[in-house]
């Protein structure tokens, strides 16, 4: 067997043919709390600024400092931004995980490692570059206690040199990252330079990977889903926010607070909003419902455990017909599960959250842009249908940085729903809170404080008739429940429609939703290019399902439902809704391991199920 050096020597001879440009995944393995987030963001931004489509995914532990963390950057000229299963380029900074990280690489991968780790001894089929970080950091960072942080900026310089990332873009990214701290920016720039210089002098290029300027990111923004959601909520006119900290949702209300302080304070210095950190999720949803009942656009943001705690109150809102928006940034359950990893595991429990017969509207964003637009849709639907609307984001979408086209200003006015004011009550002489006047199941409501003697009604979670009077009569109860169900049926025509890619020549369909979308896009290309298997694709954007979903199932012999949970939760919902003879066409491709879904896993599993 050839030694590493010999094989690389040969490789360098064929460098021209083997050059891999703008198609790679870079994984940085560090220790949590070591400042690597800044380094990784700088790397990501530098590539983005060179016009190359890029995505960054942070795999972090439930810990403040000391445990391993991995950050994966994928640069791809074709715009594939799902997680790539294989790692092409490893930056090994963490002694705890370095051995295992190296062992798990595919043959031919690149490793940049901290010299004392001596990783090149482990395998001979990889390309190794060693860097003496401790020696390099001392001269650029005289202050010993900062070295742990600055050390990580050195690898940015090494990687930039090796991959041909333009230094001017790295500098720009650093200036942005440390915008208000010129001293920190300069210190970090010096560290990058030290890494760059070391690589120039000591690490001759022996791997095939290159980043080259393109024009595919011009005009685009980089934002995480929670920040996008926060922006969407602000422009949707949210006025009351109540929240309880829980990963991965906390950054949504925290970013919202920042935006609201900047843009929703009136010239007289008064706020057009109230944001309260509640004592728990029980109180968070209680405040949302109290505010929604009183007429405010109210919301909270949480994750699975919070959703569980909100169950009882969600039933009250459903039955008393109070609007509210709840963001579920899904993470891995059951129980505490993997609190810092992504999943789509709350679909079933949220769709039917609470006791008795309850059904809720779910909106499911796939992109940061949809986090922004669905915020507006969620508030409109909640007020239109006088019910809770859950927005089912996830950790991958909410906490990771994504490229996006800039968001568009909302053109539609706010839909505040059927609310009777003083003038209408004067004209009508009164009203029945739970009467289906229009045949759509949606009744009229009044807001507390409406200055009219006939405005008041008594909202109650106990049985009630059309006038909202206490009633235990079987016919009153049944009629009311049927009407609320009619409202849900009406919602089918108003929730966001699915996005459908119909080739017209395939009998195989794929249904997916949320962040699985990015793996599906790539998997469909793999299926076509590698196996000549053509597929149609429907991306769900809401529950209840619209007519298009049923048509799609009907038009295909086999429909693979791809999702990030164990129990095929969306497939279960589809089964409940689909005609019985179509149910057997639904096949599950479900994964739950806490990592964002990758295309290769989907492709392989579909091909296996196709018997090929």
């Amino acid at each position: 067997m050839a030694t590493t050096d010999v094989s690389l020597h040969e490789a360098s001879g064929h460098q021209e043919q083997q050059r891999v440009t703008n198609d790679m995944s870079i994984q940085v393995a560090t220790v949590n709390g070591s400042g690597s987030q800044s380094s990784n963001t700088v790397l990501l931004r530098s590539i983005f600024q060179m016009g190359v489509p890029v995505s960054g995914k942070n795999l972090f532990p439930s810990n403040i400092a000391g445990l391993p963390t991995w950050y994966t950057i994928r640069a791809n000229k074709d715009g594939y931004i799902a997680r790539k299963k294989e790692i092409d380029f490893l930056v090994a900074m963490n002694p705890e995980t370095a051995q295992e990280d190296v062992k798990s690489l595919a043959s031919g991968a690149v490793v940049v490692y901290d010299e004392p780790l001596n990783l090149s001894a482990i395998r001979n089929d990889l390309i190794f570059y060693s860097v003496p970080y401790d020696k390099l950091v001392a001269p650029v960072c005289p202050e010993a206690k900062l070295r742990k942080l600055v050390r990580n900026m050195i690898y940015v310089g090494v990687v930039a040199k090796l991959l041909n990332i333009e230094t001017a873009e790295v500098e720009k990214a650093i200036r942005k990252q440390f915008a208000s701290k010129a001293k920190a920016a300069n210190l970090n720039l010096a560290a990058v330079q030290a890494g760059f210089d070391y690589a120039s002098a000591n690490l001759p290029k022996r791997d095939p990977y290159f980043v080259k300027r393109m024009d595919k990111t011009a005009g685009k923004i980089i934002i995480d889903g929670n920040s996008a959601a926060a922006l969407g909520c602000m422009f949707a006119g949210v006025t009351v926010v109540s929240w309880y900290p829980i990963t991965p949702s906390s950054s949504l209300p925290e970013t919202l607070i920042e935006y609201m302080k900047e843009y929703r304070i009136q010239p007289d210095g008064k706020a057009t909003f109230a944001i309260v950190q509640a004592e728990d999720e029980l109180a968070a949803i209680g405040m949302v419902i109290g505010a929604g009942w009183a007429g405010a656009r109210a919301m909270t943001a949480t994750a699975g455990p919070g959703i569980s705690l909100m169950a009882e109150y969600a039933g009250l809102a459903y039955y008393t017909e109070v609007p509210g928006v709840i963001w579920d940034i899904q993470r891995v359950g059951p129980s505490t599960g993997l609190p810092t990893r992504t999943s789509q595991g709350d679909i079933l429990s949220t769709a039917f959250l609470s006791h008795g017969d309850t059904k809720h509207i779910l909106l499911i964003p796939s992109s940061v842009e949809e986090c922004y637009t669905m915020a507006g849709e969620a508030f409109d639907l909640a007020e239109q249908f006088q019910t809770l609307v859950f927005v089912m984001s996830d950790l991958d979408l909410g906490m990771n940085n994504w490229m996006s086209d800039p968001f568009k200003y909302p053109e539609k006015p706010l839909n505040r729903g059927k609310v009777l004011g003083r003038e209408e009550l004067d004209k009508l002489g009164g009203f029945s809170r739970y009467k289906d006047v229009d045949g759509d199941g949606i009744p009229y409501r009044t807001l507390p404080g409406t200055d009219h003697p006939a405005a008041a009604y008594f909202a109650r979670g106990s049985g009630h008739n059309e006038k909202s009077q206490y009633s235990e009569r079987p016919d009153d109860f049944e009629r009311n429940m049927e009407r609320i169900n009619r409202k849900f049926e009406t919602a089918r025509s108003f929730v966001p429609r699915p996005e459908i890619v119909q080739t017209g020549k395939s009998k195989i369909g794929i249904i997916a939703y949320g962040t699985s979308h990015w793996a599906i896009t790539e998997a469909r290309d793999q299926l076509r290019k590698e196996y000549q298997v053509e597929t149609d694709y429907l991306r769900l954007r809401a529950y209840p399902f619209t007519r298009e979903v049923h048509n799609f199932i009907e038009q295909h012999d086999r429909v693979y439902v791809v999702e990030q949970n164990r129990d095929a939760q969306m497939l279960s919902l589809l089964k409940l809704d689909a005609r019985p003879e179509l149910v057997t066409r639904l096949l599950s491709v479900a994964h739950i391991h806490g990592l964002p879904l990758d295309a290769r896993s989907v492709t392989d599993e579909i091909m296996t199920m196709e018997g090929k």
């Binding site: 109540s242 008064k270 309260v276 509640a278 109180a283 109290g290 009942w293 007429g295 507390p448």
Partner: protein
């Protein structure tokens, strides 16, 4: 006699021209003699006498006999009967949405001191403008007479079971946590309760009133410490309360030695004629100490235990605009295009 006038007298109205009947609610379904009904009556009287517009009031409650009572007063006010122990959060949301509402929360000892203790504690901390009434009878009525967490040590159930856990004193707790108007009363003490409620209406901030309200069905027997008889024997009023609303002239003699005078936020006056020398209701430490002593002596201390008429309310702390958030027009809640442009530019 032919000369006797025959026209019917003009019905009595309050300062906003409403009759007391316009403050009434549905027919009560609670037991005859239930203390809660007496409290509902006092609420009606207080709201009527203070001339509060019923449409301005939001009645909020949790679950239990007490929480059903908002249906039995003020039908012209919006009301929300929510889930067990979680009325405080509902009230918080409603008040944030519309700061012009006068929130009246009605809870019970089970609803507050057991399942709802978490939300109760945090409501008290925030000094949200609300009148929070605990209709306190020491037992769960709707589930047929189990002890609640306010039942006194040694109190006996009808079945003979003795309570061997110490009670939660909701008043001491409220004072400690930051409520700015804390009182204890007795549903059978019409005059005291009415004055206290009127003062509560004038207060800006959290009013917490624990009103001992005997349960005639499950906790009014010998051995109960929440019975009518026990209260008659053990009630210790701290003062006679005289409340003079801002819209009335003060024409009572004032003796600084025997009277404690508090000016409320709206300019009304709270005059406490001392029955107990040296009780200063603006001193929290004193109030809590006196409550603890009362427990030692098996006294039920009633009156206004603590008041701070100047503390900022939750609405002040949040710096919320004067207009109710719920009905702000789109132009005030959706920033302009230039704001989105700027936000996008920062993300490029």
């Amino acid at each position: 006699m032919a000369s006797t006038p025959t026209s019917t007298p003009t019905p009595k109205t309050n300062r906003i021209g409403l009759q007391v009947i316009e403050y009434r609610g549905g027919k009560t379904t609670l037991c005859a003699g239930c203390g809660h009904n007496a409290i509902s009556e006092r609420i009606i009287d207080a709201m009527y006498e203070m001339g509060v517009k019923p449409e301005r009031v939001a009645k909020l409650s949790g679950i239990g006999c007490s929480s059903k009572s908002p249906a039995y007063f003020m039908s012209r006010s919006h009301s929300f009967n929510s889930v067990h122990g979680r009325m405080p959060s509902l009230a918080t949301g409603a008040i944030l949405a519309n700061r012009d509402l006068m929130a009246l929360g009605v809870s019970g000892d089970g609803d507050t001191a057991s399942i709802g203790i978490g939300q109760f504690v945090h409501l008290m901390r925030r000094n949200l403008p609300i009148i929070y009434i605990i209709e306190d009878n020491g037992v769960y009525g709707l589930t047929k007479g189990q002890f609640s967490a306010t039942a006194d040590l040694g109190s006996k159930l009808k079945s003979g079971v003795i309570n061997d856990l110490p009670p939660i004193d909701t008043c001491a707790m409220a004072i400690e946590l930051g409520a700015t108007f804390v009182g204890r009363s007795f549903s059978g003490d019409k005059k005291q309760l009415l004055s206290m409620l009127k003062a509560a209406i004038a207060h800006k901030g959290t009013v917490m009133l624990d009103v001992v309200s005997p349960c005639v069905t499950f906790n009014d027997h010998e051995g109960s410490t929440k019975s009518y008889k026990y209260m008659k024997d053990h009630e210790e009023p701290l003062h006679d309360i005289n409340f003079v609303p801002s819209f009335e002239e003060i024409n009572i003699e004032y003796d600084p030695g025997t009277t404690f005078d508090v000016t409320m936020h709206d300019g009304s006056r709270l005059r406490l004629h001392k029955l107990e020398e040296d009780y200063d209701p603006t001193n929290r430490i004193h109030a809590v100490k006196r409550l603890m002593e009362a427990h030692e002596k098996n006294e039920v201390l009633t009156g206004i235990l603590y008041v701070n008429a100047q503390a900022p309310s939750f609405i002040d702390m949040l710096n919320i605009t004067e207009e109710p958030l719920a009905t702000l027009p789109e132009s005030k809640v959706r920033p302009g295009r230039e704001v989105l442009e700027q936000a996008m530019e920062e993300l490029r």
